[in-house]
């Protein structure tokens, strides 16, 4: 349990105790001081506890651990440890190009104002499918929409390794098309090896996975 969760749990526990005490000592509200106390313990503090709790829940839902807590996602988590640098997510994860504890969310959210909320909404649908629907095989899981280059360019645009690499200048105007999302970074013969969860039985894994 990290410090934030400890502090938040303690704060929530104090608010619970105050709310329950107010509930069973409701006669306190007969005097003006008691009315103020009740307003604080039954309105202000619970609202604050919910707001901080919601913030923590939203924050942790961006963690790799959260995404991989569903069984169907386990192979996607394993694919981050493939010992082959042509595997795009694995090379990003293992070389710290994405923060390891927020690896999924770094590449799989729309970088728009409500992108994370949209992701949560879809996540709720996934939970529904997990318990009440038919769970697809990991290799049959597809993105809702084609992967947007924006998620790559968010970090790579302007980087020397991206702008000057010879393979990005094979065709004139190639980079312009990539920037305009007209040519996918994951086009055939480019960065087209992604999670490939259907072939994980045929690959070797980075040692660190065994150490964990």
């Amino acid at each position: 349990m990290n410090t934030t969760v400890t502090i938040l749990s303690l704060f929530t526990a104090v608010v619970i105790i105050l709310a329950v005490l107010t509930a069973f000592r409701a006669q306190l509200t007969r005097v003006p001081g008691g009315k103020v106390l009740a307003f604080v313990t039954l309105c202000i503090l619970p609202a604050l506890a919910v707001w901080t709790g919601l913030h923590e829940q939203l924050e942790r839902s961006t963690s790799t651990r959260f995404c991989l807590s569903c069984h169907v996602m386990a192979d996607f988590g394993r694919s981050l440890y493939v010992d082959d640098k042509s595997y795009l997510p694995a090379s990003h994860f293992q070389n710290n190009r994405v923060p390891r504890d927020h690896a999924c969310f770094t590449c799989h959210t729309d970088y728009t104002m409500f992108g994370d909320y949209r992701a949560k909404w879809r996540g709720m649908h996934h939970v529904w499918v997990q318990y009440f629907g038919t769970i697809p095989k990991p290799e049959n899981i597809r993105l809702y929409t084609p992967y947007n280059n924006r998620e790559c360019l968010h970090c790579h645009l302007g980087a020397r390794s991206f702008e000057e690499t010879s393979s990005h200048h094979k065709d004139p105007g190639m980079l312009a098309k990539v920037r305009a999302n007209q040519l996918s970074c994951m086009s055939s013969n480019c960065h087209d090896i992604v999670h490939e969860v259907g072939t994980l039985s045929q690959v070797t894994f980075w040692k660190q996975e065994e150490e964990k």
């Binding site: 039954l42 919601l54 996934h126």
Partner: protein, 67 residues
């Protein structure tokens, strides 16, 4: 002696808020999408309803006094 209506409502309000926050606190200990859902769909509404019951008790009491 019977408990005034406002105090009964405050009691219900406190109980709902206490239960809702207990659920929220427990869900903080579990990192899973289901925990997020329970937090959002059970804990938050319970606290929200508890707060509304409290505010309603104030409003209805004030309205009763002004009559």
């Amino acid at each position: 002696m019977t408990t005034p209506r406002i105090e009964r409502r405050i009691r219900w309000s406190g109980i709902l808020i206490g239960l809702g926050l207990t659920i929220q606190m427990l869900m903080l200990l579990w990192i899973h999408p289901l925990s997020f859902m329970i937090f959002l769909l059970v804990g938050c509404p319970m606290v929200g309803i508890g707060m509304l019951v409290y505010l309603y008790s104030l409003a209805s009491h004030a309205a009763g006094e002004s009559k």
